[in-house]
Subunit: 342 residues, 2 copies
DNA sequence: ATGAAAGCGCTAACAA
DNA sequence: TTGTTAGCGCTTTCAT
């Protein structure tokens, strides 16, 4: 019933065995007779024994905790990722600790070693300001898995969707709907962040394949990837008198902000301008109009990242591995007049 | 430079003192001469010593970690709360661990004792399925602070805004805009959750003060507080042929879903139906139309909750205290034709 | 003001 | 298969 004060020793006494045996049972070791195991388990249940993780960590050096480092957690995509990562961890007995880097390179670097003073078994980081090459475990630090960024880069395991293909899919969809002047929103040339560079690449490939040439004026740089940036981007395009009939935004948040600004300018979506976002966040399913988007399989991403860490934990030293999670295009009203309700 | 392998003993040797003294310095104790302190600090810096928190926790029983229990983290309000709580904790040297209860009473009860097996110095819980009276620390568990719920209830410290007043403000605003048939969306009579009961109370008070009588047909029960529930609520009202010219939704998510359903039904917001939400999430600032809402001071909530825990930690046993955080009404287009852009 | 040493609860090396 | 025990790094009681 009461827990916390119950030690292995108490369980041992109760079951008439030694602590060694209790430890063996608790940790699922093989060399325990069926009979003893049952007796110990019974004592564990009766006393409400729960192992003291601090003691275990002190002894083994392993904490059963991994750290997820994201720029910010109060952003739909990252809170979705965090939620799934926590659940994925739970499923395999891992505690996931969430840390926010605020997109600050120094914080990102520091958090590569785990939360301050805390010992973790691994770090999953979604880098923002840090270049892929700078994402590597400290010599004595925990193993690191990187989310996003460019294939072939970096010196750690990497989990991501195929960003180039995903962007191509999105833009191809727009082209198939007859759009010909498609702007890309969300470039970040001054950052090490390669994910947006990959989406730009997919955008360019799709445009080129359609026989068009992308114009630099139709590629819009944004400070961050939030709604306000999307709105500002549209205002800028409009001010410059750019001629465009579609927007491919690198995140749904950008797209939502862009749609708001289009509305303010008296432009209709999708009639005047079609919009496609990226991420598949909840908001896009209920916005007016609802948002066409590329949805990564976030659950898969979480599972792959944790599995990669587990492989490292098991001591499997190997060259950096890359895992690709699936994605799919979700077509909604913002790109398809046919779907629109009156 | 390297850290993790450096122990107090190493620092002690380096500084030519005993571990006792190193510990004293690290923990900011008084009885250390200026001279020794400096020598120790220098050694700490040179060696890159960082205390092993697991050992400290094992020894002291305190972990420097508090647990935040929310129904789910991939929901705008809770991710905002989590983000601020993590930052507030950081500011006072506390690690905040985020746990999801999925709104499951058993999980909520279990998490009152902290994350499985983990030792925490306190638990901040935003209960969903658990009644206020069931939110209490286990005899040997960490102190608990409750978020939301009803004043005077429960046996633990409580932090919340004045939900009745906030709801009254929201509805009074609607009344001042000439609305007379205001529906309340988000009641949950089958739950212990009192927060929605308080908002209903404020709604009824405001309507009564305006000389109206609320009609039960204009109070809509929802399963949860998500967008889909808001949309379903509107569809139900419409099916039943209810006559309403405004909606007071108990969360912004409900309101966003409701606005989507109104749009689908060919009703204009705010012209045909004015809408007010609750929470002040980001989405509402960029939706079309933008959403009028009641915004709680979430940063304040986070600070108050952590401070309450700190007070408990300091051993200040006292009767349950209640802390009230401020809120304010943010008026936007959804309730105000005058604000609307063309 | 500082040192010596016990012990927090656990795992694992060594014994039996 | 199970028991005994050292020791993980830290705080803190007891000396000095």
């Amino acid at each position: 019933m009461t827990s916390g004060r119950v030690r292995q020793r108490d369980v041992a006494e109760r079951a008439g065995v030694s602590v060694r045996t209790v430890s063996n049972v608790v940790n699922d070791f093989v060399h325990v007779s069926q009979d003893t195991r049952e007796r110990v388990l019974a004592a564990v249940a009766e006393l409400g024994y729960r192992p003291n993780l601090a003691a275990r960590e002190l002894r083994t050096g392993r904490s059963g905790t991994v750290s997820l480092v994201v720029p910010e957690i109060d952003s739909p995509y990252f809170s979705d990722l965090a939620s799934r990562m926590v659940r994925a961890g739970e499923a395999i007995g891992l505690t996931v600790h969430i840390a926010q880097s605020d997109g600050d390179p120094d914080r990102e670097r520091a958090l590569l070693a785990g939360p301050p003073g805390r010992e973790v078994d691994g770090v999953v980081i979604s880098p923002w300001a840090l270049a892929a090459d700078d994402v590597r475990p400290r010599g004595d630090g925990p193993p690191v898995v990187m989310l996003g960024e460019r294939p072939g880069q970096g010196s750690v395991d990497r989990v991501a969707i195929d960003n180039v293909a995903a962007a191509r899919d999105a833009v191809a969809h727009l082209l198939s709907r007859g759009r010909r002047r498609i702007a890309a929103v969300g470039l970040q040339p001054h950052r090490a962040n390669e994910t947006s560079a990959l989406r730009r690449e997919g955008y360019r490939q799709a445009v080129a394949a359609a026989g068009g040439t992308h114009q630099l004026g139709l590629e819009v740089v944004t400070q961050t990837l939030h709604r306000s940036d999307g709105a500002a981007a549209v205002r800028r395009l409009l001010e410059e008198g750019s001629d465009f009939d579609a927007l491919f935004c690198f995140t749904d948040e950008l797209a939502l902000g862009a749609m708001r600004a289009l509305h303010d300018a008296g432009l209709r979506v999708p009639d005047d301008v079609a919009v496609v976002g990226f991420d598949g966040i909840q908001d896009g399913a209920f916005s007016v109009p609802s948002l066409t988007t590329v949805r990564p399989d976030v659950t898969r991403i979480a599972e792959l990242a944790l599995a990669a860490l587990g492989r490292h934990q098991a001591g499997e030293e190997s060259t950096p591995t890359e895992y690709v999670a699936p994605h799919r295009l979700v077509v909604r009203e913002s790109s398809c007049a046919c779907l629109q309700q009156k």
